[in-house]
């Protein structure tokens, strides 16, 4: 919202020492955020009103004209070369003189004009288009080469454009989002009230004169649902001549970004920007009555009929619902309450009688309708903040006062109809000095508390030790309802920066351990620091195409009702869906990718936490998983690199006994001969394996890729703290290597287990070589193990070791049909 400093000065006398920057800063620090302070006169220095006296063709350029422009006494006649398509003689234009700074062709950066020759013709400045001066919102362009036509202005040539347009003002641009709870700030008077409190200066009362009513016309107003319309004021005004409003009013409106239209509409807009109360003016000629006499007018506030269509002032048709609130005459809808008027009762050039509406509508209803229809107006934006119902009457008086001031012939033709069924009575809120001190941790003197509340318009009574505080009507609707709300008023005015900070005094407590977080962090550190994996974070949303490529159906997936990326409506059940996309993407640039992610997956068919304490409804399960992918050019069997990293990382977090078991569960996703379940002590932690080559091909990954997904909760179940240690032996070991050929299907795990358990003198056994070749047979493999024999009590004799070793070889022959190689 734009706030004009001049307008504020209607209501208070700001001391010279308070600069615009101070006002911006103080509003930001105490009330609402001022995003920008715009000194229009400053940015439009050296731009004046000029009158074109002659337009001639440029002899060297078809698209350019050579203009003679009268820039008044001080600047004289200037020759300007210009490409505008709407140049005419006697036209008033915005003339940027040499030295002025303009947005060249509407670009962001400013460009300082100099005297130049354009294709041989001298040019002493520039005739500007609106976007070249940053005024495109005030003067929207119909055509790219259109320059601003200011012929309608009274201003003389040579006058500064800023003063001609009433822009010799400072404009505060206030962040609308920062005042959603403060309906009272949506007009200049509300902002002026804040400033009067900040600087302890008097706020001039806004008390327009009483309306002297007429009796020519009878107006009746009927409110069918007073919950949705607590108050409605209507007034018939006639003897109106529609004409432009005076210069001063137009300038005010333009300064806050409102386009002047005509005297009646400008008055309603002016009142809205002053008081914050939106108004509407109907063409009274178009208001139909049952009786059919022109003298009697009837307004009905009611719910729309389900399905009715309504043509609004913007020329568009809207389909209404029973939940929408409309204004009707005895036969038709004439306005969408609080949002926009209807085309059927629009003010026209020959309108001579109007009905002014100043009403209070239910905020929720207005919000719902305007959101549903996508129709947000200055009016709906205010109504949805819950307006002060008292201000409806104030606004009506102000509107009549203003209209009579600018068009003295107008007559009030009816009595002021004021249907006010739902008055709001604000309750006193009790609070003591101590309440504030306790909440804030700092003592603000009582006298200061009372002063600040009064300056915001609160009524304060002293009741013993306590204060009884009643908020003013403009803060009572939804804004100030509790003690805390009042405390905030006191503290923000006092200044948050003046509250000294202190740290809380709490007993020393060992905080509850978050085991899962500890494990997550260990896994992340281990994978990244030890094994060279990089951590990715991916969206929770996945594309159906990827789900299908991975051999799944979308049936089990939770789906967004309103996805932002229409192609990713599903919520992930696996971290691999996005990680595989990452892999594909990165393999265009890298020959090796090692990625992991720790994040949540969403399982619809399993129960998660309760949706609400005490309810029986559960949210879907949302479990934290670890997903890992690895792919490298020239690595045709990345399974082992992955399984090694996983096993060692799990060891690091305290999961010691890990088994890889053939995985038949994930046959679609994984290569069925290279996939494993990761199991520890009978608990399934997840899976690891190479991606099914069909899936790999569909996704478009060029090399074999190993994937892994584990459940952090299941890992947590298997974590034990390592508490074992083997003392260092004082005796030497005896070491023996064995090599043998076995059937390819024999698993290393079984051989290792057999050897390790064979004899107590076998300290360790390790696979150190494995190979397959045609020489030894297609379904065979050669394996070589290194065995360490050691006694903890004596030096072993070779013979003892040889005896055991022979038996080991025999056992290999017997159990695995191993063919021992000498």
């Amino acid at each position: 919202m734009l706030i004009s400093k001049k307008w504020l000065e209607d209501f208070l006398v700001l001391p010279k020492k308070i600069k615009s920057e101070d006002i911006g800063h103080d509003l930001t620090m105490k009330t609402v955020e001022v995003e920008k302070i715009n000194n229009l006169a400053h940015s439009l220095q050296k731009v004046v009103v000029g009158v074109i006296t002659k337009v001639e063709k440029h002899s060297n350029a078809d698209t350019l004209k050579v203009c003679q422009v009268d820039a008044g006494k001080n600047y004289g006649q200037l020759q300007i070369v210009c490409g505008g398509m709407n140049l005419k003689e006697n036209m008033k234009v915005a003339l940027a003189l040499v030295g002025a700074k303009v947005h060249w062709h509407g670009q962001d950066e400013l460009f300082e004009l100099a005297k130049v020759k354009l294709r041989g013709e001298e040019s002493n400045g520039m005739i500007c288009a609106s976007d070249e001066l940053g005024l495109e919102e005030m003067f929207p362009k119909q055509d790219e080469k259109e320059i601003m036509d200011l012929s309608y202005l009274d201003a003389k040539e040579g006058v500064l454009l800023s003063s001609a347009l009433g822009l010799d003002d400072t404009i505060f641009d206030i962040d609308n989002k920062s005042m959603t709870h403060r309906s009272d700030l949506w007009g200049h008077y509300g902002i002026a009230r804040e400033l009067s409190a900040f600087y302890n200066i008097k706020l001039k009362p806004l008390n327009p004169k009483k309306i002297s009513v007429g009796k020519n016309t009878k107006l009746t107003v009927e409110i069918k649902d007073s919950e949705l319309c607590p108050r409605y004021l209507g007034l018939v005004v006639n003897n109106i001549k529609i004409e432009p409003s005076p210069d001063w009013m137009q300038k005010r409106l333009m300064a806050v970004g409102v386009r002047p239209i005509n005297n009646v509409v400008d008055v309603t807009n002016y009142v809205m920007h002053e008081i914050g109360q939106p108004m509407h003016a109907f063409d009274a000629r178009e208001i139909l009555t049952k009786v059919g006499t022109d003298k009697n007018k009837k307004i009905v506030v009611q719910r729309a009929k389900d399905g009715e269509t309504f043509k609004a002032l913007d020329g568009k048709e809207y389909k209404l619902k029973l939940t929408d609130l409309v204004i009707a005459d005895s036969q038709r809808t004439i306005a969408l309450a609080g949002i926009m008027g209807g085309e059927n009762s629009e003010i026209k050039n020959d309108t001579n009688t109007i009905i002014f509406e100043s009403a209070n509508f239910d905020a929720k209803t207005i919000r719902k309708t305007s959101t549903r229809l996508g129709l947000r107006t200055d009016s709906s934006t205010r109504f949805e903040k819950s307006l002060d119902r008292e201000s409806a009457e104030l606004a009506m008086r102000r509107a009549v006062e203003l209209l009579q001031k600018i068009s003295p012939d107008v007559k009030v033709a009816s009595v002021l109809v004021d249907v006010y069924k739902k008055k709001l009575k604000a309750n006193a809120i009790k609070l003591g000095e101590f309440d504030i001190a306790k909440k804030i941790g700092f003592n603000i003197p009582k006298i200061e508390i009372i002063r600040s509340l009064k300056s915001f318009g609160f009524t304060v009574a002293i009741k013993g030790k306590d204060l009884a505080v009643v908020p003013p009507s403009w803060r009572s609707e939804r804004d100030i309802v509790s003690k805390e709300d009042v405390i905030e008023e006191v503290v923000r005015l006092y200044g948050y920066d003046k509250i000294p900070s202190s740290l809380p005094c709490l007993p020393i407590v060992v905080s509850r351990k978050n085991q899962s977080r500890t494990i997550e962090r260990l896994l992340k550190n281990c994978l990244s620091m030890e094994f060279g994996y990089s951590e990715a974070h991916n969206y929770s949303f996945v594309a159906p195409g990827m789900i299908e490529k991975m051999g799944e159906s979308t049936e089990k997936y939770i789906e967004l009702d309103n996805p932002i990326a229409k192609d990713r409506p599903y919520i992930r059940r696996s971290l691999l869906t996005n990680l595989l996309e990452n892999a594909e993407y990165n393999l265009h640039r890298f020959e090796s990718i090692k990625l992991f992610e720790v994040g949540k997956v969403y399982i619809l068919e399993e129960d998660g936490v309760l949706a609400e304490k005490g309810s029986k409804k559960h949210l879907p399960a949302q479990v934290v998983n670890l997903g890992v992918v690895l792919s490298q050019k020239n690595n045709v069997n990345p399974f082992f690199a992955m399984s090694e990293a996983i096993e060692l990382a799990l060891n690091k977090v305290g999961v010691l006994n890990i088994d890889f078991v053939y995985n038949t569960k994930s046959a679609n996703l994984l290569h069925s001969g290279r996939g494993a379940l990761v199991v520890s002590n009978g608990i399934e932690l997840g899976f690891v394996g190479e991606l099914n080559p069909i899936v790999q091909d569909k996704i478009g990954i060029p090399y074999r890729i190993a994937v892994c997904e584990l459940s952090v909760a299941n890992i947590l179940k298997c974590v034990t703290e390592k508490s074992e240690y083997t003392p260092l032996s004082h005796f030497p070991s005896v070491e023996r290597d064995i090599a043998f050929v076995v059937d390819k299907k024999i698993q290393h795990k079984d051989i290792l287990k057999m050897i390790n358990n064979f004899h107590e003198l076998i300290e360790s056994c390790e696979l150190f070589d494995i190979y397959q070749s045609d020489k030894i047979g297609e379904d065979k493999k050669s394996m070589a193990y290194h065995i360490v024999y050691r006694s903890s009590s004596k030096t072993l004799e070779a013979k003892v070791v040889d005896d055991i070793h022979t038996k080991v070889l025999d056992s290999l022959k017997n159990n695995f049909s191993a063919d021992i190689r000498e």
Binding site: P504, S511, R517, R521, S528, N586, L619
Partner: protein, 342 residues
């Protein structure tokens, strides 16, 4: 004696011409080999020397032997030194050259790095870390937080809803964890709740529909606004160094009262005003306030007796500021060119 002198002379001339360790080895063998070394033989021949000469001769031979051994050893040392000198010269390398093939180290996500830093800070002050659902009920995301149905945050343009499950949303803030955490912790409470949040917003360099927050709150009988300031100052100093300052200004959030917007002095320009802080000298990094009594009540806490503060930090923004990252969408783009930089 003749032998003795001859040997001495021969040896001396030989050792002077020795150029390498091999020749020295041969020379040593020539005189000291167990079988046919000239000195060995000389010693052995002592048995044939008459008794009265033997002692003197023996002594002489021994002196000779000691001298020879000494000169062999000193020659050896000299030759070795020369040899090492040569080795060291020929083996010298370009120490600026990298190891080949290069070791690929891994990288943690920048959000993780900053989140870890803050988690460590808060746990050091006795805070518990809570994790909770990202797909949340409307109750915890809105209702319990004093956000009435008409609040703009409930409009469809801001919130992701779930198809066929009325009442489920993707949480729009980590504040959704406030009431859950109140229900599961004991008083006095100090808890942080970092995590992912979702808003149905179109994305660009500064807006993302999925983002990270770190929420926290403290509740006890006398937890005050001054304490909120104190904790936020600790956070600011932890992130930006001991000179960092904070500034609070009013901001409306339905679940806190008073509600504030927290800014930290711009660390890039030391509050002088720069492009990043939009010339203001301040960077907006958190929202905070005193927990609304309705929220405490929803959490089963006696709002007459207890009070507290809550705050929420936008992690994405912290990380972007820290590294000067220009586009928020990099965080979840999975691009290794980005991820490998942290």
């Amino acid at each position: 004696m003749q032998d003795y002198l001859q040997i001495k002379e021969k040896f001396n001339s030989q050792i002077n011409s020795v150029q390498d360790l091999n020749s020295l080895e041969l020379l040593e063998q020539e005189y000291f080999s167990r079988k046919a070394g000239e000195i060995t033989l000389l010693m052995r021949g002592l048995g044939d020397v008459p008794e009265e000469e033997r002692k003197e001769k023996g002594q002489k031979i021994n002196e000779l032997k000691v001298a020879m051994v000494q000169s062999i050893e000193s020659k050896r040392l000299e030759l070795k030194e020369n040899e090492y000198k040569k080795i060291i010269e020929t083996e010298s390398i370009d120490i600026t050259q990298p190891n080949l093939p290069k070791h690929e180290s891994g990288h943690l996500h920048p959000i993780t790095l900053v989140q870890n830093q803050l988690e460590d800070l808060f746990t050091s002050m006795g805070f518990a870390i809570e994790d909770g659902p990202e797909l949340e009920s409307e109750y915890y995301n809105f209702t319990a937080l004093n956000i009435p149905e008409t609040h703009p945050a409930r409009d469809t343009q801001d919130t992701f809803y779930i198809k066929d499950h009325a009442g489920w949303v993707m949480r729009t803030h980590t504040s959704s964890m406030q009431v859950r955490a109140m229900q599961s912790n004991d008083l006095p409470m100090r808890v942080i709740m970092p995590g992912r949040c979702y808003r149905n917003e179109s994305t660009d360099a500064r807006h993302e529909h999925t983002f990270y927050q770190l929420e926290g709150f403290v509740v006890d009988e006398n937890i005050s606004f001054a304490n909120l300031k104190g904790i936020l100052e600790v956070v600011a100093k932890n992130l930006y160094g001991p000179e960092a300052k904070i500034r609070l200004r009013p901001k409306f959030y339905p679940f806190v009262e008073p509600g504030v917007n927290g800014e930290v002095s711009c660390f890039l320009c030391e509050s002088k005003g720069c492009r990043v802080c939009k010339q203001s000298g301040w960077l907006e990094i958190f929202g905070a306030g005193m927990i609304h009594p309705n929220v405490l009540s929803a959490g089963g806490i006696d709002a007459q007796k207890y009070q507290g503060f809550a705050f929420g930090l936008g992690l994405d923004r912290l990380v972007m500021l820290k590294y000067g990252i220009e586009d928020i969408r990099h965080f979840q783009g999975g691009d290794l060119r980005f991820l490998k930089q942290f």
